[in-house]
Symmetry: C2
Subunit: 230 residues, 2 copies
Amino acid sequence: MKTLVVVSHPEINNSQTQQFLMQGAKMLDVVWHHVEGLEKIDVNKEQKLLMEADRIIFQFPLYWYAAPAGLKDWEDKVLTRNFIYGDGNDNLMDKEFGIVVTTGMPLKDFQRGGSENITIDQMMAPLRAIADRAKMRVLPVFTIAQFQYLKENQQMQLLIDYQRYLTQKYPNSLKHRQEWFIREFSDRFKNFDETNYSECETILDTFIQQKEDLEQLRSTIDLIKQGEED
Amino acid sequence: MKTLVVVSHPEINNSQTQQFLMQGAKMLDVVWHHVEGLEKIDVNKEQKLLMEADRIIFQFPLYWYAAPAGLKDWEDKVLTRNFIYGDGNDNLMDKEFGIVVTTGMPLKDFQRGGSENITIDQMMAPLRAIADRAKMRVLPVFTIAQFQYLKENQQMQLLIDYQRYLTQKYPNSLKHRQEWFIREFSDRFKNFDETNYSECETILDTFIQQKEDLEQLRSTIDLIKQGEED
């Protein structure tokens, strides 16, 4: 699977979050494409990049409940009507479309009645509508809130979740997760000798199992909490 | 009431719709402010313009389910956090916020299951969220669909509705409508002599009444149609 990450940030070098994500992306076989970094937008070249990808990710910080102007400019120029759906074209049909959005606000602010009074999902509706128009398959949004407050182990967890978002097969089933971990970590562990390698596999299995258990527990807790709030 | 119309269109001179609306706006005492026409964005000057207005309208054609990049760029630069809500600021509090959006697609496309699969209201949620954050009062969106297909009398009707959207007191009650018509048309008729003037007033009253009746009839027809479709 080929993944294209279309990144928009007007000051990407000053963004800790984007630099961190870039390190994560560089460990994988994905195309990192920073739109504000382009000297000029060559529409044909950009459209070719999109057509070569199986999964297209838009990644950006939230500026006034949407992507920065740089991404909108890129959209307005690159996504010509004819390329997306005109004249019976369907150049992006069946490709996957994902969004990685970062925000300095806590997640709880993004709900009706919260201080932002709108959900992330509502804000992303215009982008999703483009994907719908292009007959793409829409992935759930990947939100990173308050990166600066994450502890180191949380950052590591985020890094792996982000990497999975970029390259793990969809939907996010146990099988796809296991396949991803084995593929990615086999690569990373390939300098280990055989004894270590099989040990790593065991660790990996345990890790995945623990992760499953944790997620299960979290869901249960969420359900209990919901019950209490009712 | 002072109205500021923040217009965004990358090729405004080639847009029949925008030229038509500009003529309508010029008949009124409103500030027409074209963001792509600015040599550079002077943040202080723009913020001052906003503060001087009682009603702020964003006006633009729909590009990929949102405003053109030019408006987003203006937003990202002018609407600093500090100006909108930081440090206890509320520079735009209680001002009215409206949106005039134009589209070449028919209105029926903008619904779940329609070819655009999203409503105008859903698309405008990020802009509304800004207004909420600034504690502004949000007006209903004014949508102009397929201007190029309107007949001359429909264009005239649109012109008046648009003018009312820019300067008529909110909410859109019969009283406010009558006040608006009398104020605006008195001005336009001021060169008439007294006999003519009172005649005009009668015509105006009849016109307003007919408009009410028409709207009532249209609602009834819509209800009947809905009933048929159920």
